[in-house]
Amino acid sequence: MNQAQFAALEATQKLKSLGLAGQADLFSAIPNHLLFPNVLAPAALSEPELVNRLAQLAHKNRNAKNSNWFLGAGRYYHAIPELIHLYARQFELNAESATEGLSSNQTFLGLLLDLQSMISELFALETVYPALPSLAQTAKTVIAAIFDYAESQKLPTSKREVYIPAYLHPELKTIFPALVESRGGKAIFYTSPPKEASKALGNNCLAMLFAQPDFLGEVYELSTAIQQTHAGEALCAVFTDPLFLGLFRAPGQIGADIVMASAQALGTPPAYSGPQLSFLGVTEELTPFTRAGRVQAEAEGERLVWIDGGQANTDWHRAPEMVSSALYLAGYGASGLKETAHLIWNRSHYAASAISKIRQCTVKSRFFFQEFVVELPYQADAVSKLLEKNGIISGFPLSRIFPERANQLLICVTEMDDKDEIDFFITKLKELL
């Protein structure tokens, strides 16, 4: 007897105890002419058929495992040790009970506290919130903290301008202005390098956002920009990449007040997709205004508690990403993180250098980490499609976001792209052009 037959048998017993002749009696409130319409429902499949069907569909997706993958643009293909995959997967699929009561589970809070202190070290900021459910939520929390701080300091109401880099990730870029405007502020985009843009700030600047590296992979010398922004009594917020911080100076070390980053690079596959777990760090001064959750010890060596800080939702179903990040940082440690970032630096610069030697190709980026922009002689979208036929996912055609950059391709090289793969990509690109 299969599940359906067994359920039908049990249904008879349940109907009998309810005093009903048939299931249709349950729906007597629904007008008869609407009840049980003819539905051209898809044919149901047995388990092996379903598994096969989904395997066929999966096979139609080009992916980082079966291609030479140079695509980034916000989601990156990094190494994930099998151990992380194993534990994160158990939390993901058994989350029904595994995430139950996590907010009071001392062991899990201990793990989160470890994660918090590692991120705090990485950002070089005192207070870290390790469980923001998405970058959108992080952006919301940051803007709320900035404006609440301004109100508490009784700053003039005209001082409500927030400067946003034009090359912030496009989706964050669309979120920030709406958030700033909802608090009565004004969002201003800047395109020049941060050092230049921060020189020209007026008295009305409340905060300046920086992307390090930005959407195009460009890295900036931020310390002067942060000093200049602070000189105008404005706050500095930096959106960064946690792996970048394995090699380069942390924003907190050069005076940033707020640092935010996605956790995807730390042990989460690129197509995990959806809103990504994010980390937020703030200075002590901004801590009272930051409405997000974190772990705190009630006293030295005492019980740990989860302080939600007014965060609307703590999404414990993000536990797999929290576990991944903690295992990743603890497992690689400072030296592993540094070596990985170093490898990304070297491989991406090796690729850029080789591409720059191809006639008709110009590498537009000068000083970059992981991603760089290449100007091609033809439309990047078309070149990208041709390379795909050779199993190369060559990058992100920038025309999809910036129509004026029709021939530009954003190429991402991580530690997962080895020399042979890069060389193969260069050879095919040469042949094509």
Partner: protein, 445 residues
């Protein structure tokens, strides 16, 4: 043989290194900008064993009674799901687009609507988007129509969803069991009303008997009718919501085999609508081309790169498996099973005189598998204990509220049709002794 950067293989096991070894450098080094380098990073290099012991302690493997989980786990192991980047290119993501297209077609057929978008991350954002769509449509016809009507029970959720969208929201009185009354709607719908939101079920989980009449009234007065539905189990195979006269439907796909933790948070929500509203949908949805390939329809309306707004692939797979799996019978029988289980549970816990009440206070049946059970607990019984009893029997508790005036606690429960009779009886058996005596005289099962 040359030594790698980590030394010869026989010395790798020596202590002092990180637990995970990074990949070796195989390209020439490029000079690093010294003034930007960090020299003091001091993350702990932990003995992973101690972390794993912690994780083992946290992790509890539950008994599975939901076949979909096992299948999703197996299917997710295909790199085509985990390591693709479906949001970035149609050409690279034919499998994901085909999956979305099949899901979309099936949901249109089940609901009776002609157009659909998938992948709104939360119920609130789906509702906000639906209202936004109605307002945009009305703007082109009559710019004075700017007010949205919603039953009281929704007003708070609406306000939380997006303050800008709900700037002109008028709450209508409703009865917890009967839902929205025709008279309240008739009084509320004015020349400035852009649309009215009507959940398919009342807050308690009964069919709203006047929903069709309200929809007709609303449309005759030029206002749009926006339906709201918490799960496809509410209607699949039983009736088509479009035939009730709705213009739009915000539908949450929770409740078809997805793990419980998705219930209150991230999920896949869809917006279904009539054909004439399609120009206002913002995607994404996949369309099949004449050559058999798939493209994302209206990419210009949804420039999202998927970083924030694309649903986790495991949720889409869960929906697909739920819809197509033959293991639990066809869709209609699963829907009927879920509703039957809801009523069986209710009858077991409520005395006959306090059993489910439908229209006019007559004894009736919960029409929805997502329903509210009002229980009077014995003095000293913590509602959390009752929730745990439900959970132990694999019955989803979506929340509970104390109703102080009536001395009762309302438990919001969800059945998905996969609960076995034995488990329902187990829940009834363990909860009944915790109920107030006069309410616990239920018929025996």
């Amino acid at each position: 043989m040359k030594d790698g950067p980590h030394g010869p293989i026989y010395s790798v096991s020596q202590n002092g290194g990180a637990a995970f070894l990074p990949i070796r450098l195989d390209v020439p080094e490029t000079a690093l900008p010294d003034y930007l380098l960090r020299k003091d990073l001091a993350l702990p290099e932990l003995d992973l064993d101690s972390l794993l012991i912690l994780l083992e302690a946290i992790r509890k493997i539950p008994p599975f009674n939901k076949a979909a989980f096992d299948l999703t786990a197996t299917c997710l192991e295909q790199p085509g799901w985990r390591y693709s980047s479906s949001a970035l290119s149609d050409v690279f993501a034919q499998g994901s687009l085909e999956l979305s297209s099949e899901l979309g077609t099936a949901l249109k057929e089940l609901s009776g609507f002609e157009s659909i978008t998938l992948q709104r991350p939360t119920e609130k954002s789906a509702l906000a988007a639906t209202v936004d769509l109605a307002l945009q449509y009305q703007k082109g016809i009559d710019s004075k129509r700017t007010v949205i009507l919603a039953p009281q029970s929704l007003a708070r959720a609406c306000a939380e969803a997006d303050p800008k969208t709900w700037i002109k929201l008028t709450a209508l009185e409703e009865d917890e069991s009967r839902g929205l009354a025709y008279d309240a709607a008739e009084e509320g719908i004015c020349p400035d009303t852009a649309g009215i939101i009507i959940p398919l079920t009342s807050p308690d989980g009964f069919f709203q008997p006047e929903i069709k009449d309200i929809a007709e009234l609303s449309r005759s007065r030029g206002a749009m009718v926006i339906g709201l539905c918490p799960s496809p189990l509410v209607f699949s195979g039983v009736f088509k919501p479009a035939e009730l006269g709705l213009d739009l439907l915000a539908l949450c796909l929770e409740g078809r085999g997805t793990p419980r933790q998705f219930a209150e948070a991230e999920n896949t929500n869809v917006i279904l609508c009539r054909k004439e509203l399609e120009p206002y949908l913002d995607g994404p949805i996949a369309e099949r081309q004449s050559d058999g390939s798939y493209v994302r329809a209206w990419p210009e309306r949804s420039p999202s790169l998927g970083r924030f707004f694309e649903t986790k692939i495991r949720i889409l797979l869960n929906h697909y498996i739920w819809l197509y799996s033959a293991e639990w019978g066809d869709i209609r029988s699963r829907c009927e099973q879920a509703t039957l289980n809801a009523n069986y549970l209710a009858q077991g816990l409520l005395s006959p005189q306090d059993g489910p009440r439908a229209e006019g206070g007559k004894p009736g049946f919960f029409y929805s598998p997502i329903f509210r059970l009002r229980l009077k607990l014995k003095e000293g019984v913590d509602p959390v204990e009752v929730c745990q009893d439900f959970e132990r029997s694999m019955i989803t508790v979506r929340g509970y509220d104390a109703l102080p005036g009536q001395g009762e606690t309302a438990f919001l429960l969800a059945c998905d049709g996969m609960e076995r009779k034995e488990r329902l009886d187990q829940a009834i058996f363990s909860i009944r002794p915790k109920l107030d005596k006069e309410k616990s005289e239920a018929p025996s099962h």
